[in-house]
Amino acid sequence: MNGPHDLGGQHGLGPVAPEKDEPCFHAEWEKRALGITLSCGAFGAWTIDESRHARETLPPATYLAASYYEIWIRALEKLLKRHGFVTQAELDGGQMLEKGREPKRVLKADMVAGALARGGPCDRAVDAPPRFVAGETVRTRNFHPETHTRLPRYARAKVGVVEAVQGSFVFPDDNAHGEGENPQWLYTVVFSASEIWGESADPTLTVSIDAWESYLERV
């Protein structure tokens, strides 16, 4: 979707402010926010793609003003309500009012090391051979779905070169919406800066994205 998360090339967002000797967390609540988010992810009720979409559908003013863990928490509240684990009244009151849905699993302390070590691999075999080969020139599609996509706006309707076929992976545009994993081939596609940014582009710059097969057309 063309949400506030799709930031590539936007102006006016200020200088980068690297912090000297930045701590791992800036506040206790950030630690809890990380742990709660990962714990709820372990329910198995939604995918990483659905959770990304929950974040990118926050109102732009909220999204851009929020720290990153705040974005996580606001999106997590949406997911928990959507999937029947908590109600708004419970969030408002800060206490349980009804039992709610039971998850497939609850992450206990002794499961953490294993769960983090396993992660969530999302490479999946596909039957068809890759449609494009390394070295081939392709054009990205020009679409603007309100649903989730991982083709950034700045890289739509642009001509680039396939640098590598990276294997086949779960297709987020479907997986975010409960429509299945529907894996596709994934390609690293390289663009010249002038193709993306036009006449004042840095001539030494190239930018690549990792694009699912259905994002690409033959030229």
Binding site: A27, S39, E56, A65, S67, G119, D123, V190, T204
Partner: protein
């Protein structure tokens, strides 16, 4: 709960990491309480997750990968061909490191990693991302004005050096292998790893020179 305002002027007015402690503390506390009462989360599991990223998984993992690539050409080749397996051989696997790719700086080309769409980052080798990596300023500008971004990190590259920006739009997580600094002949892997900064492995910095590191 009231909406927070984007609070400036509380002693750190030029940064994006003012974190609205009071509102968010209350909000997260309410959420944790409800979920704990329902038996949906285990507060001890949260402690274990936090401890993992505070003490076990961080940029020193990535520094070991780079140091080994600098010292062992066969490992460097493996890292180029199959970074996931090469990195896993050192014990670094799992969440946000499931599918790794290593990109090597050369005398001609400097690599820079960004996720313009969220904040994808190779947790397994670099730990949790710094605030600036997740912030709109970096995510918006890394793809259009990387030299300007690098200057804000104090890194001025020669004008003829090409810049390759990798936008992490899929589940591949990128690790930049910086160039090995001069004057490090005979350094063992530990000494080399000490020269590898987190920023060098994102591309917003270079490896330290042995003189500067002393």
């Amino acid at each position: 709960m009231s909406e927070h305002h984007h609070g400036h002027g509380e002693g750190h007015d030029h940064h994006h990491h003012d974190n609205h402690f009071t509102d968010m503390e209350a909000r997260v506390k309410a959420l944790e309480t409800v979920l704990t009462e329902k038996g949906l989360i285990d507060p001890a599991a949260i402690d274990a997750i936090v401890e993992t990223y505070e003490t076990k998984v961080g940029p020193r993992n990535g520094a070991r990968v780079v140091a080994k690539a600098w010292s062992d050409p066969e490992f460097a080749d493996w890292l180029k061909r199959d970074a996931t397996a090469a990195i896993a051989s050192l014990g670094f696997t799992g969440r946000q490191g499931e599918h790794m790719r290593a990109v090597f700086n050369t005398p001609d080309t400097h690599n820079l990693i960004v996720c313009t769409l969220c904040s994808c980052y190779p947790w397994a080798v670099l730990g949790l991302p710094p605030v600036w990596y997740k912030a709109p300023a970096y995510r918006s500008r890394a793809v259009i004005d990387p030299r300007g971004v690098l200057a804000e990190f104090g890194l001025e590259l020669p004008a003829e050096k090409k810049i390759r920006v990798w936008d992490s739009t899929a589940e591949l997580r990128y690790l930049v292998v910086p160039e090995r600094p001069e004057g490090t002949d005979g350094f063992d892997e530990n000494a080399l790893a000490n020269l590898v900064t987190r920023d060098a492995m994102i591309g917003t910095g270079l490896a330290l020179s042995p003189v500067g590191a002393r």
